[in-house]
């Protein structure tokens, strides 16, 4: 069971163009933030830098696939990369992106753990949209 979180924990960072927030499960946990907090400090800094770089990148410019890779086409699921660390991300609103899950890359190709994480992110996007629609996603303390 993950740590119980509040809206104080929601924001990862606000870039010039894009903002990133952690996915907030219905049970009050933020698993990707738990995973982030479990990383060594230097790896955390590299992850933050990847998101900051993506968040500041002007629209229309292509980011290197070695830093952000499209893992699923429809719906779009991306993996933000820093070393072996991968955080799955989906688009929420105009300039807001949600960081959903984490996996550690061990092979060149997407492995079973990575694939399962991407599949969970696809389901999480539906869950997110459904809870926002019902007005129960952000309406928590």
């Amino acid at each position: 069971m993950g740590k119980q979180r509040t809206s104080d924990d929601l924001d990862l960072l606000i870039g010039v163009i894009r903002s990133f927030e952690w996915f907030w499960e219905a049970d009050g946990t933020m698993p990707a933030l738990d995973a982030f907090e479990g990383l060594p400090a230097n790896d955390q800094d590299a992850v933050v830098a990847t998101f900051k770089h993506w968040g500041d990148l002007p629209r229309g410019l292509r980011i290197s696939e070695t830093r952000v890779n499209e893992e699923h086409d429809n719906p779009k699921i991306f993996a933000a990369k820093a070393g072996k660390h991968r955080f799955t991300v989906f688009h929420a609103a105009v300039d807001v992106w949600i960081v959903h899950g984490y996996y550690a890359k061990r092979k060149a190709k997407l492995d079973k753990v990575g694939r399962a994480t991407v599949e969970r992110a696809i389901r999480a996007k539906d869950d997110y949209e459904e809870r926002v629609e019902r007005g129960v996603y952000y309406e928590r303390t």
């Binding site: 933030l33 933050v48 070695t66 952000y138």
Partner: protein, 135 residues
């Protein structure tokens, strides 16, 4: 409430981001900026290569190195690269590398930045005033 509205509400209530909290530690802020500088350099190479319609294999050929080595450089390897190698790669994508030592002291920093802007403008004017080939 949608993501955009919730985001605006959190900003209005003064909630901080994880990045802001991490950056309260100067050491971590410095490390994040170091990682960012590497990412931005990679991005500049990517954009320069796109302008030249060049793939990594072609860049490798121009600098007489293995494509795998260039791929490594463009995926984090530049952080350990010697300046000469970065210059060689930059020249291969029709760019030059500017090296700057920017002081931490705010007053000194401003002086250096003002000078750099002046020097770059002067250089740019010189370049644009050079006669074109065949003119």
């Amino acid at each position: 409430m949608n993501a955009h509205e919730a985001h605006a509400q959190r900003r209005a209530s003064g909630k901080t981001t994880l990045e802001q909290r991490l950056r309260r530690d100067p050491e971590r802020s410095r490390r994040i900026d170091e990682h960012l500088a590497e990412l931005r350099l990679e991005q500049q190479f990517l954009e320069a290569m796109e302008r030249q319609h060049m793939v990594a294999a072609e860049l490798a050929r121009r600098v007489k190195r293995q494509p795998a080595s260039i791929s490594r450089d463009l995926a984090g390897g530049l952080s350990a690269a010697k300046l000469g190698r970065v210059r060689e790669m930059a020249a291969a994508v029709d760019c030059e590398v500017l090296t700057l030592l920017i002081p931490h002291d705010p007053d000194e920093r401003k002086k250096v930045i003002d000078y750099v802007i002046f020097a770059l403008s002067a250089k740019e004017n010189t370049i644009t005033k050079l006669p074109r080939k065949g003119a």
